[in-house]
Symmetry: C2
Subunit: 421 residues, 2 copies
């Protein structure tokens, strides 16, 4: 039995009862009629961000000039501590903003492999986000390691038992995503960490699709290492800097490969030899991009005000509504759910398979005012970010999708995949 | 015989005759009385930048949302091509914006070491900028290579003969700075490249203190590899993304270690195995920070309009004036030149040694409205960026320095080096 009745009125009732409804106006909606269900690719612009960044440009850079670095030098760590407390369930001094997710993944994976030199294997998920797989492939080749692959289900995610099957005393590191980029499947972090610990391996989590929308409890769940981006549910803007997490007890035992001056003890003494600080800052590299960093400050304030638990509750309900409406309205048109059915096993996005998903995705954006994502193979990825998406947005988007497919208008588009989005 | 007479009137005449005088008003001068001689640490804010970045935030991010990536995805390369043509003397498709200087140095050094697996040594300059030395130290340890050190003179820079002495058929790579961060000494790029080529080694240049103020001729001088930052004389803002250069004939033969999805052929097909593109884009890693990237667009337009040759001519004259005034006004107060005397052997900054340089630098900023840099050991670094610095700024700054030291006010400050700048 569905908890929904499929009507738009019901979606309207959910909007009226939404405790996070007030957040919508804290974001910019330049095209009010646009149904934006791609907050899991690039989160919307918070309303306070333009002025905050403008102040950093005019005040910090323009007026303060080099002197502003006395202040900026601490932002990576300050923002890291806010992420630790409000988003990641970690402790102060365990999270820092740095580089991109890709570069952080490389740094921490390298450090973890150094940590267990006798172990000759690295485990990666065949269905993980490409950059994670590519980085792991590179590391395995560079270091002459055995790359073991766990095959999580493309739609249902990781079965912990299949991970157990590839773990033994040769495995140094397991790289996994907390929320699968394609299906939204949510991995059982505590179970995976416990299993890996039993086998003597470290786990490096990619939290990109989880941070800010799923309660992440790194300390409670016994996490070793994590990385993640900040431009999805954290709304930090295009390419905003990534974060990295290293459990406190591991920090002094790990050395990352890119020995940059931002990881150096007494950085401006510029001593002859590299001597990394004892803190999480040892995983920093070069000078961070401060304009892109600045945009995170107002964005994080919104997530903190909302609270990840409330965002999760709403995100879960938005997802349930999408799944229910997809079953009612879109399944008869050839769609099927390509995400876990159980909302406890999903993050905040929902994926639908359709043989013509590419052209449907294009036509939705070009002709129906609905922006969602296409993902290979043949999947529409719908990411209703709970911070600013209304239940009626989901209802309207799925209704517009149904009408579009019924009309057949998408079939006039070329099949060639010539665009990113 | 000096070409200067030491009077302020002469500096005023140079300002009146300055063909780049018009550029000053294209930059923000929030404190008109501030003498900012630290453009070689963080260049000033171009007047057009706030609005340009604001448009990217409001239009690109706020309105365009994820769709703007169809455009942004090419910016790294487009800006790279502009740098290649107008700043670096390289060809289209040889330069791309990416990560930080530190990360790029690591990537290209790694790739170069892979290129010559039989060679077991890496050469670094003991006086190079810290991050370059630290990255090289890390690579040597990680790969079990011999780290050979060339000792360039702290004040006069690299003697090519001392480099010759450490080169042999074991050397895979030489890492050097084109303009020395401390002294401003300008290395002879063509001679070094020729020498290394003769020995069968590649050279990786750090162009951070050269780009935008010294004509760099990568193609003409036979350069293999280069990296550099964009926040000094290119005025890209705090931590703006770095660039990297790989000579076209080397691109397909080199593989960088951080196999990110931005280097992948047909990136959004998200294929199982890493298969790097054939172009310079193979040296990209993760999602670039677009707000910090955007700030480079108006900044580069100014450098292009001025032309590096004109910037060099003015920068050279500013440096000569500073050296002349330092000899007249400051040498009697205990200063001595800690840069090459010959302007052909210097970039655009000039360094002065004084036993109390740290406190003088602090007092200049706090009490005399002069911002320059302190660098270990006991050096004032004066970087009059030719794009916006007047000859009278240099004259006034050195005069204020003389008065400050005569007054002894700096001696009231603590000796402890508790601040960055």
């Amino acid at each position: 039995m569905s908890r929904f009745d499929g009507t738009r009125e019901e979606a309207e009732r959910h909007d009226r009862a939404d405790p996070l409804g007030f957040l919508r106006d804290r974001f910019v909606h330049a095209e009010p009629d646009l149904l934006y269900l791609d907050g899991n690719s690039l989160g919307r612009l918070p309303a306070d961000t333009p002025e905050f960044v403008a102040d950093v440009i005019r005040g910090g850079w323009g007026r303060g000039l080099i002197r502003s670095w006395n202040d900026w030098i601490d932002w990576n760590r300050q923002i890291g501590d806010r992420l630790a407390e409000h988003v990641l369930g970690a402790r102060p001094g365990e999270v820092v903003l740095s580089d991109s997710t890709t570069v952080n993944l490389y740094k921490l994976a390298w450090a973890a492999l150094d940590h267990a030199p006798g172990r000759r294997a690295l485990v990666v998920d065949a269905d993980d986000f490409p950059t994670n797989r590519y980085v792991a492939q590179g590391l395995a080749r560079q270091r002459g390691l055995d790359l073991r692959v766990v095959h999580s289900d493309m739609d249902r995610g990781l079965d912990v038992e299949s991970l157990r099957a590839v773990l033994d005393d040769q495995v140094a590191l397991v790289v996994l995503s907390h929320v699968a980029y394609r299906s939204g499947a949510l991995a059982d972090m505590a179970a995976v960490n416990a299993l890996a610990r039993e086998a003597g391996a470290l786990v490096l989590w990619d939290l990109s699709h989880a941070a800010g929308t799923v309660p992440v409890r790194l300390t409670e769940d016994g996490a070793d290492l994590a990385v993640g981006c900040t431009y999805k549910y954290l709304n930090g803007g295009p390419g905003s800097p990534a974060f990295l997490y290293v459990r406190r007890s591991l920090q002094r035992r790990l050395r990352q490969p890119i020995q940059g001056w931002f990881g150096q003890r007494d950085q401006f003494a510029m001593a002859p030899g590299f001597d990394p600080v004892d803190t999480v800052d040892r995983f920093l590299t070069g000078t961070p991009p401060m304009l892109s960093t600045a945009a995170l400050v107002p964005a994080l304030a919104l997530v903190e005000e909302a609270g990840v638990d409330r965002l999760r509750a709403k995100g879960r309900l938005l997802g349930e509504l999408a799944v229910d409406l997809a079953a009612r309205r879109l399944a008869p048109l050839g769609f099927r759910l390509a995400s876990p059915e159980d909302p406890d096993r999903r993050g905040s996005h929902v994926t639908l398979w359709h043989p013509d998903a590419w052209r449907i995705c294009r036509a939705l954006a070009d002709e129906a005012g609905v922006v969602c994502d296409y993902r290979e193979p043949d999947r529409l990825r719908i990411g209703p970010s709970p911070a600013y998406t209304r239940f009626t947005d989901v209802w309207d988007a799925l209704e517009r999708t149904g009408r579009l497919v019924e009309s057949g208008r998408h079939t006039r588009l070329p099949r060639a995949k010539a665009r990113i989005t």
